[in-house]
Amino acid sequence: MASNGWFGRRSQFTQARASHGAAAIPDGVATKCVKCGEIIFTSDFEKNLKVCTHCGFHHKLSADERIRYTVDEDSFAPLHENLRSVDPLRFPDYQSKLDKGIAATGMHDGIRVGVASVHGVSVVLAVADFSFMAASMGSVAGEKIVRALEEGAARRAPVVIFTASGGARMQEGLLSLMQMAKTSAAAARLAAANIPYVVVMTDATMAGVLASYASLGDITLAEPGALIGFAGARVSAQASTQKAPEGYQTAEWQLLHGQIDQIVARKDLPDTLGSLLQMLGFSPEPTLDDLASEALTEADEEIAAIG
């Protein structure tokens, strides 16, 4: 976003490449932590939800991994998968970047939306995938986020969004910028409907996305070490008279500065989300087993009444 945001965005792009490039050692058996450089068995790395077993760094996830690690098994049903970006400004190289993103991720944009349950609580879920053009927000991403928020209001189901983004998508110009207003307005509508909106900020949540729907949750969680900030380090340094403080723009630093409710380790996210949603009055849906045992109890009562 903006003149302020662009170095930030570039550094994010770089980081994304580094992450996806360096993490996988060619033979696939071992993985190198992008933070501490330690070589870890890929099987251990994946078992540990892509959190470094050595330094605890929470590596970026694909949307599918994120969904798998978060929601109740087989509970996710995708929505709005049929949205496709166009190139409204015929912006230099945009189409080829989209094509590359599609080829690399199998997704058509950096946001996956759907319904799922978390600890039995039905939610509308939106998940960013940073490896698709740094999950930058163009018309499609904005539309998907808005549909997720509207879906939550319509179903009266809490909306949970895992954010990650370099910011607004330059290649769609003003149309991208307006997605900030559009998503913020949709968050306001959800709020007016008194439906909970939970944001989980993941590495990296920046610029135009941080300055819109990512900052509007009723509750804001973040993964440890996630990069979270308005402008990238270079723009910020140029604009600042003070030196960037220790831990600047990490989740931990944002917590100190009042922007985040809790930093939650990846493995604890399903429990924390389930617990928070229950606190806000959203109970688990009864499972088939529950329904069966309830039916049995009712039968027992009838028998008792007769007896």
Partner: protein, 339 residues
């Protein structure tokens, strides 16, 4: 002429204007008109020539020219427009939380007889003012002041006018420390539901989220030579071509002019500026802007709060371009990438 950039062009016009005013003085002082009878004709010719030059140059502006015009240091700023368009301005200060930001001004004034809440970015003209106004880069406390005044306006049913003129929001460490992202997001969130008419006008630089943070309105207008962009051309060029000097190409690619913004459906109207740009005639520019405000506010005044909020939502809801391929059929035939 169009190969001159704004600075060169302005210089040539300034030279012309100097000659013109010399000539005018001679004509005025003339004691013996018979000796210089053709001077008035010369003057008229020169004035026509000047108009033709300006018209020619302005008829062929590049996107980068527009950027430079939007940033022109003699362009009227928010307080200039307030001074020319409104009466009885009562500036109100502070966010009630932390501070008062000079980069955003806010308050109430009358547009003819109508009370209006005004919020606008403010740049400075001299060094001291520029520092005080942080060069128009608004800080969290500026957005929060703006939000406070806009909510106050909504509480009392007063329409809101916002004037946009910022290179972008403050991006330094201290702005991040105090939640610049949250401040911008919260204003958009709040503006989306304020039950009072809101008209926003980009009067100079519409710099990204820093601009949009006070521009979620029922009507969004742009002055003819303002720009509105997701990113500054310099930044865009640096990303695309690793060369900030290719800013003119970036400006073109970004479609940041008023005309293009209107075509994209991002703004609802473009307000004509006096020939040669708003900086050449503040009074006339303010007159056009005032007329546009009155017209747009009149169109909104009969709508209820609920209607305003619903239409405002749908207005932004509709922005964006994408295609939606045929949904995947249950019998297994998936349509391809139909986009």
């Amino acid at each position: 002429m169009a190969s001159l950039n704004v600075i060169e062009f302005e210089k040539s016009i300034a030279e012309l204007d100097e000659n013109l005013s010399k000539l005018r003085r001679i004509v005025m002082d003339q004691k013996h008109p018979q000796n210089t009878a053709d001077l008035p004709d010369q003057l008229a010719n020169l004035e026509q020539h000047r108009t033709a030059i300006i018209r020619a140059w302005f008829s062929n502006l590049t996107a980068w020219d527009q950027v430079l015009l939007a940033r022109h240091e003699k362009r009227p700023y928010t307080l200039d427009y307030i001074g020319h368009m409104f009466t009885g301005f009562q500036e109100l200060h502070g966010d009630r939380l932390y501070g008062d930001d000079g980069a955003i001004v806010a308050g109430f004034a009358k547009l003819d007889d109508m009370p209006i809440a005004i919020v606008g970015h403010q740049k400075g003209r001299d060094i001291k003012q520029r520092q005080h106004r942080n060069f128009g880069y608004a800080r969290p406390e500026g957005y929060r002041k703006a939000g406070r005044i806009m909510k106050l306006a909504a509480k009392f049913g007063v329409p809101i006018v916002t004037l946009i003129d910022t290179p972008g929001a403050a991006a330094d460490v201290s702005a991040d420390e105090r939640g610049i992202s949250e401040a911008i997001a919260r204003n958009m969130f709040d503006m989306a539901t304020l039950p009072t008419p809101i008209v926003s006008v980009v009067i100079g630089e519409g710099g990204s989220g820093g601009a949009l943070g006070i521009a979620v309105a029922d009507r969004v207008l742009m002055l003819e030579h303002s720009v509105y962009s997701v990113i500054a051309p310099e930044g865009c060029a640096a990303i695309l071509w690793r060369d900030p000097e290719k800013k003119a190409d970036a400006a073109k690619a970004l479609n940041l002019t008023a005309t293009r913004a209107k075509e994209l459906g991002v703004v609802d109207g473009v307000i004509a500026e006096p020939l040669g740009g708003a900086h050449r005639d503040w009074e006339a520019a303010a007159g056009s802007l005032k007329e546009a405000l009155i017209e747009n506010l009149a169109q909104l005044k009969d709508l209820t709060g609920d209607e305003l909020v619903e239409r405002r939502y749908q207005r932004f809801r509709a922005i964006g371009q994408f295609t939606e391929i045929e949904p995947i059929h249950l019998n297994g035939h998936a349509s391809g990438d139909a986009a």
